[in-house]
């Protein structure tokens, strides 16, 4: 294990057009931490994830993964270096079946993922890893189903299986519970806990406060593109700005 | 010097013709995402029927020409509406298929026109003034170029006003993105889409009649020749941008004139290079909106 933090942001600022989307955000996430990210709608949480995963480049500032400066690296390089993410709205490959979806992720991990000289087989390592990942999220029985016919909760689980198959060291989850029925929340919470327990560093944006409080080691609060605080769940919940700007009376 | 002026003004005239063809194409493509390969066929049939009507009533006069133009506009709009209602409508949100059926229509239409009007060009009569020239700074400019430029400007202004002043532009842009949601807001998208096709077809119809004035003939292939330039102009100008298409039309035509004249007839090669270069440097085209 290195002595570097899993993820470091230094003075990250993002401007698009005239709008200031992120203001001087600095954040360090140590190896193995589960960090909850909360904040009002439009605070910049998804934007932050886009910066970390490389979908957006910061106007200023530096992004480091395991000590290495990745600010200029394209998305796929960061992913190959062990960064996995999900999207706020489900995105699978609808024309492929569930197993194929997950196997793509597993292949990517192995390298030579897009080789013409290798034909995937039911027995190869990537397939085995994909099946194991589906097993882990309880979706193995749906391996042959087409991805487009899955229910919302099932899609969420398959996305997480893809993450597991990639074996990333750092994971970004953007609202994994959005649209998941109450009945499935506990199971999915367990799946996420499992992700973290495997020693991975997890950042999770989530509006379901009990899920955040139940899982996170630390909670970061975004507001108007700024990082207001990153502290223990209790301390954050007690913060008056969080109370008024984010929680309102519903908490 | 007069060669230069001649090149520029005739280039403008050619650009006007390109724009007349491209305007309908760009409108339909930009708003509805339908890459309409049948646009050339709209144009050709309008030119043929416009010519048939014009010559029956009074050949080679201004009345004849005006009647041709009106008939052409009407025919273009009608054929476009029929195409939309009978065929394109069934394929909404399936843009590739839409483009494909229009390929089929254009193949079939050109063959049908050849069957009806034969393979040889049919030479048309024009009012005498159109075949004369006007001298500008020593360059003798054929008069029909001025008509082309004026019509193109009118069409550009008309369509821009239509989009600005009515809700149709909005409805169609939204409808292309998510048709169901537009109906769920209580709007009859189909009517708007048909209207846009009608306008695009009318522009093609006018373009067809004017093209037959410019070339001096009508033939089954009139439309297909112009269509490829109209595509190029639409893409260089930026999808959905009518002003972009107008600027690109002039740019392409003038450049083509100069290259044909000074660079050993390389006009079309230069245009092709321009297209590739613009797309590679600025994939959205000159005036296209950010993706």
């Amino acid at each position: 294990m290195t002595d570097h933090a899993a993820l470091e942001l230094e003075h990250v600022t993002l401007r698009i057009g005239g709008a200031l989307l992120l203001k001087d955000v600095s954040l360090t996430v140590p190896e193995g931490e589960m960090l909850g990210v909360i904040g009002p709608n439009g605070a910049g949480k998804t934007t932050l994830f886009n910066i970390v995963s490389g979908v957006l480049r910061p106007s200023e500032g530096v992004v480091r993964l395991a000590g290495a400066d990745v600010t200029a690296q394209p998305v796929h390089r960061r992913a190959a270096a062990g960064l996995g993410r999900t999207f706020q709205t489900s995105s699978l490959f609808p024309a492929l079946d569930v197993l194929e979806n997950v196997r793509l992720a597993a292949q990517a991990r192995e390298g030579r993922a897009a080789s013409v000289f290798r034909i995937p087989r039911r027995t190869d390592a990537a397939t085995r890893r994909a099946l194991a990942a589906l097993e882990e999220v309880g979706m193995a029985h749906r391996a042959d189903a087409g991805a487009s016919g899955l229910s919302h909760g099932e899609k969420r689980k398959v996305e997480i299986a893809m993450l597991i198959a990639m074996e990333p060291r750092v994971i970004l989850l953007d609202e994994p519970m959005a649209g998941v029925g109450s009945a499935d929340v506990p199971a999915l919470t367990e799946v996420i806990r499992g992700l973290h327990r495997g020693g991975r560093t997890v950042l999770m944006v989530e509006h379901h406060m009990d899920v955040v409080l139940g899982l996170a080691d630390r909670v970061a609060v975004m507001h108007h593109g700024e990082l207001l605080a990153a502290d223990s769940p209790e301390a954050v919940m007690a913060n008056p700005t969080v109370q008024s700007a984010y929680l309102g009376t519903a908490a | 010097m007069d060669t230069l002026i001649l090149l520029v003004i005739t280039g403008l005239g050619l650009g006007a013709l390109y724009f007349l063809v491209a305007s309908g194409l760009s409108l339909i493509y930009g708003l509805m995402g339908v890459l309409n390969f049948a646009h050339g066929a709209f144009l050709t049939i309008a030119a043929f029927l416009g010519w048939e009507a014009g010559r029956r009533i009074s050949d080679g006069t201004w009345t004849g020409l005006v009647i041709s133009a009106l008939v052409g506009i009407l025919v273009g709009a009608t054929v476009a509406v029929l195409t939309e209602v009978l065929i394109i409508r069934r394929l909404y949100e399936r843009h590739i298929e839409q483009a494909l059926v229009t390929v089929g229509i254009s193949l079939a239409a050109v063959a049908l026109f050849e069957g009806i009007w034969g393979t040889d060009p049919i030479y048309t009569d024009r009012p005498a003034w159109l075949t004369q020239t006007t001298e500008i700074l020593g360059a003798r400019i054929p008069n029909d170029r001025f008509v082309l430029i004026a019509c193109a400007a009118l069409v550009l202004g008309g369509i821009v006003l239509f989009l600005r002043k009515t809700r149709y532009g909005l409805i169609i842009r939204a409808g292309v993105e998510n048709r169901h949601m537009v109906t769920a807001l209580g709007i009859d998208v189909r009517r708007s889409f048909t209207l846009v096709f009608a306008i695009g077809g009318a522009a093609a119809g006018l373009g067809g009649v004017l093209a037959s004035v410019y070339y001096g003939y009508v033939s089954a292939h009139l439309g297909s020749v112009l269509l490829i330039f109209a595509f190029i102009v639409t893409v260089i100008g930026g999808l959905g941008s009518l002003t972009g298409a107008a600027i690109a039309s002039v740019l392409v035509a003038v450049l083509q004139q100069f290259a044909n004249f000074y660079l050993g007839g390389t006009g079309d090669l230069v245009v092709v290079v321009l297209l590739a270069a613009v797309l590679l440097i600025r994939p959205r085209g000159l005036m296209g909106k950010a993706a």
């Binding site: 109450s182 499935d184 509006h207 309102g248 | 809700r167 169901h180 949601m181 807001l185």
Partner: protein
């Protein structure tokens, strides 16, 4: 416009069948939406709540009898149904990403005198972003646009599908307030996962399971019965589902 008679339901659905891509997703569903207040349509993921609403609007293939204030609407095309005063807030927001916020709202205005001030006061955040393209809004902001599009008109019925999905807790509160406010003038058929919101807004509930109605009755009756909540919605504790 003749106001509905007090005891006549604004919406009545009988033997509704709906299919997507040849697959039956709504089966023989019948229920009424009373002319006032909020009726919640509940059920676990994938039981067909969204599909039911879409069938009512004619957005998917459907058969059955649907009446709006007594008049048959099951053969009418979507835009006609909406023009009769039905507003729809879709599950996935479905804002027009390439249009600006202002354009999204302008498109939705059906009435002569749209209630622009109401919308502006409900969602001040949107006022500030009128010229931003809706595709670049955050998820929550898009949800606000979607709601605003429905509330900008005078409606006879609101069909609202998971309006609080992805919203921050404080906004969930505000949206619930807005819906409560809206429900004073027009009845709402609401799909919602957050049972706290359901309890706060709904008087009546209809529960679906695998495309069929399994329960209709008062909201309190259902929510207070832990057994039923557990059976129909798979939830042990209402709070857990907040």
């Amino acid at each position: 416009m003749s106001g509905p008679v007090a005891d006549e339901p604004i919406l009545s659905v009988r033997n509704l069948y709906g299919r997507i891509a040849g697959q039956q997703v709504v089966e023989d569903v019948s229920f009424d939406v009373p002319a006032t207040g909020v009726t919640a349509l509940l059920g676990r993921n994938g039981v067909g709540k969204t599909s039911t609403i879409k069938s009512i609007l004619g957005l998917i293939d459907r058969t059955g009898e649907i009446r709006l204030a007594g008049e048959r609407i099951d053969r009418a095309p979507t835009h006609r149904i909406v023009q009769r005063g039905v507003a729809y807030v879709p599950e996935d927001r479905e804002v027009f990403g390439s249009l600006t916020v202002a354009e999204n709202l302008r498109l939705a205005e059906r009435d002569r005198s749209p209630r622009r001030e109401l919308v502006a006061s409900l969602f001040p955040d949107l006022e500030a972003r009128r010229e931003q393209r809706a595709g670049t809004l955050s998820g929550g902001q898009q949800q606000m646009v979607s709601l605003a599009r429905a509330l900008v008109n005078e409606n006879r019925l609101l069909l609202v599908d998971e309006p609080t999905k992805g919203l921050a807790p404080r906004i969930v509160d505000e949206v619930a307030d807005a819906l409560a406010e809206a429900a004073r003038t027009a009845p709402i058929l609401l799909v919602e996962q957050n049972l706290l919101v359901v309890r706060r807004l709904a008087e009546r509930v209809v529960v679906l399971s695998s495309g069929r109605v399994v329960f209709t009755g008062s909201a309190a009756e259902l929510l207070d019965d832990h057994d039923r909540v557990q059976r129909f919605l798979g939830v042990h504790d209402e709070r857990e589902a907040a």
